[in-house]
């Protein structure tokens, strides 16, 4: 039976967690300053998104954080609800991490949307139930509540057998709503008939798969960081299982990439082709080949395969590399779909294009808001590591 409340001394050193909290506070200060700029000067003055590319870095970083959260919730659900013991050994960290990184994601969308409070108000007063964004709000809102309930259950001082059963049910719903939320986020893009690169079911599937992979990668990375690349024996089987899950996830991602890119290239001279062109040999080529494929596919997969998913340090490195690469994955997908302009950049059209593609590069303020997200994650998560017992001793 689960004994979530057993006290086990965390191996994470105080110096390490304190350092990471301080780093988080520095990022929070940077992000706070940027948020002030946004509030005082307005979005249009400080963000680089434009008429042709209205969704930029902050939508990408929102996706980066929240999809990783639902990936973590998926892995947690496997442990809690479906009896995957190897994952349930990490259940406390999974729930805390999923909750905190979801909050980090909310900071990104909160700073991206012009009137976030008005959005919450009208989601209640006059929601458009046909709009995918409404369901995105609903599902991610429910996911946050479910994760909060999970947090309460796992940190309840006196655990009973009934709590374990509740945890199973809540874990199952965290998994289910998480998958719905992420696939619906894919649908926010997939529903756009005007943007052929986005349109369809592809991104709903890709985001779910890459989210689960990201959840595994973040767990591998954080466990190595917490234990200073010396993960204790009792977690080795869990780490190996996560490595295999991550490897399988990357494998499926490769498969999806292959057919998405090939099918897009074959639409020449259509907009999907233009988006693929931007990725393969256009303005996003370095991001795609080095960031997306190099860091989020080839390197971590090679590490996992060559070490047979059994070297803890190597798994940690693979996790860190993947999480860096995943940023490019999210950014490229958001931006590439909007690069093909809706109208040709001819004289008088008002459309600004270079080599037939719209232009966008994030502003300093947008990068600083990304720092805000990381700041929220680092401060809250490592405060939890510092002051709570996150080791789940036995299952």
């Amino acid at each position: 039976m689960t004994t979530h409340t057993e006290r086990a001394p965390s191996l994470a050193s105080k110096t390490l967690t304190t350092s990471l909290i301080i780093l988080g506070l520095i990022l929070l200060a940077i992000g706070g300053y940027a948020s002030l700029q946004v509030l005082l000067k307005g979005h249009e003055a400080v963000y680089a998104v434009n008429r042709e590319v209205p969704w930029g870095l902050l939508i990408a970083t929102y996706a980066y954080f929240v999809i990783t959260s639902t990936g973590l919730a998926f892995i947690g659900g496997l442990g809690h609800a479906f009896g995957f013991e190897k994952y349930s050994k990490m259940s406390k960290r999974i729930v805390v991490m999923a909750f905190v990184i979801l909050l980090a994601g909310f900071t990104q969308i909160g700073m991206e949307i012009g009137h976030p409070i008005r959005l919450m108000m009208y989601l209640i007063v006059s929601p458009n139930l046909n709009a995918p964004i409404v369901w995105m709000g609903v599902f991610y809102g429910i996911e946050l509540i479910i994760l909060a309930i999970e947090l309460y259950i796992i940190f309840k001082p006196e655990q009973k057998e009934s709590d374990h059963n509740t945890a199973k049910i809540v874990g199952f719903f965290a998994l289910l709503v998480g998958v719905l939320a992420t696939s619906n986020l894919g649908y926010v893009f997939g529903s756009l008939n005007a943007r052929p690169f986005y349109h369809g079911v592809y991104f709903s599937i890709f985001l779910v798969i890459s989210g689960i992979t990201a959840g595994a990668a973040l767990l591998l990375a954080i466990h190595n960081i917490i234990y200073k690349f010396n993960v204790p024996e009792n977690l080795h089987s869990s780490m190996k299982a996560l490595g295999k899950l991550m490897g399988a996830g990357i494998g499926v991602m490769m498969f999806l990439y292959l057919w998405k890119i090939l099918s897009s290239v074959y639409t020449q001279p259509g907009d999907s082709y233009l988006a693929a062109k931007a990725l393969l040999w256009g303005p996003l080529r370095t991001n795609f080949w080095v960031g997306e494929l190099g860091l989020a596919v080839i390197l971590p997969l090679m590490i996992i395969v060559l070490t047979k998913s059994s070297n803890m340090k190597a798994l940690g490195v693979a996790g860190i590399i993947f999480m860096i690469g995943l940023f490019f994955t999210r950014y490229d997908f958001i931006v590439a779909g909007q690069f093909p302009p809706m109208r040709e950049g001819l004289p008088g059209s008002g459309v600004h294009t270079v080599n037939g593609l719209a232009q966008y590069a994030p502003s300093a303020t947008e990068w600083m808001i990304f720092a805000l997200g990381w700041g929220v994650f680092l401060v809250l998560y490592f405060l939890a590591e510092r002051f709570l017992i996150l080791d789940t001793k036995e299952h």
Binding site: V49, G114, M342, G348
Partner: protein, 205 residues
């Protein structure tokens, strides 16, 4: 009174008119004969003045694209394609709007309620015609309203101001209207038929 306040007043007026006309049997549309366009861009200026559209490269509701150029004598030719929001029957911008800020009047005119716009910009990504932009003065996404506040007594500003009568505005449900007669007499096309938006702007072939 600031330009901003005037623009907000127009939006409020549009809302009231849309509510008043909720049982209207009219179906507004615009027929364009681009071959008559001389590229003077008077329509773009009239639109800005009428609707208090702020200055700025990206702040425009209508545009005149220089379509083709043949620089060699004796076949020198320039053609223009004036355009704007297509006021689609099948309205992707309204479908993705989470708060119903984008709405359609009974006559088919697509409008934005600035008070409800949350600036999520989903409508901008959904529009296949790049007809929308963020108005940072209004803090909302805006677009062509067919000058709804002037209808039906006066034509939209772009229609009224055009020296060569490129645009003709009218009721598509009335077989005696000029737009209906033009559509009956000429072959025409609509922009981007593949995306199935069914625009209310018709271009004479």
């Amino acid at each position: 009174m600031s330009e901003n306040t005037k623009a907000l007043e127009l939006s409020e007026l549009d809302k009231k008119l849309a509510s008043k006309n909720r049982n209207s049997k009219k179906n507004f549309g615009i027929v364009l004969d681009a071959s008559k366009c001389i590229g003077c861009k008077a329509c773009t200026v009239a639109c800005k003045m009428e609707n208090y559209v702020p200055l700025g490269l990206e702040n425009y509701r209508i545009w005149v694209t220089e379509d083709t150029q043949s620089p060699r004598f004796p076949t020198i030719r320039r053609s223009f394609q004036p355009s704007q929001c297509q006021h689609c029957e099948n309205t992707p911008c309204a479908s993705v709007c989470p708060t119903h800020a984008t709405y359609k009047t009974k006559e088919g005119v697509v409008l934005v309620d600035y008070d409800k716009c949350v600036l999520c910009k989903a409508c901008m990504t959904a529009c296949p015609y790049d007809a929308r932009f963020v108005d940072d003065h209004l803090e909302a996404v805006e677009k062509c309203t067919m000058c709804y506040h002037r209808l039906p007594e006066r034509d939209p500003a772009c229609v009224e101001t055009c020296p060569s009568k490129v645009r003709v505005f009218g009721d598509l449900n009335d077989p005696e209207s000029e737009v209906s007669k033009l559509l009956a007499k000429n072959s025409y096309y609509r922009l981007k038929p593949a995306v199935n938006t069914r625009p209310r702007l018709f271009y004479i072939d």
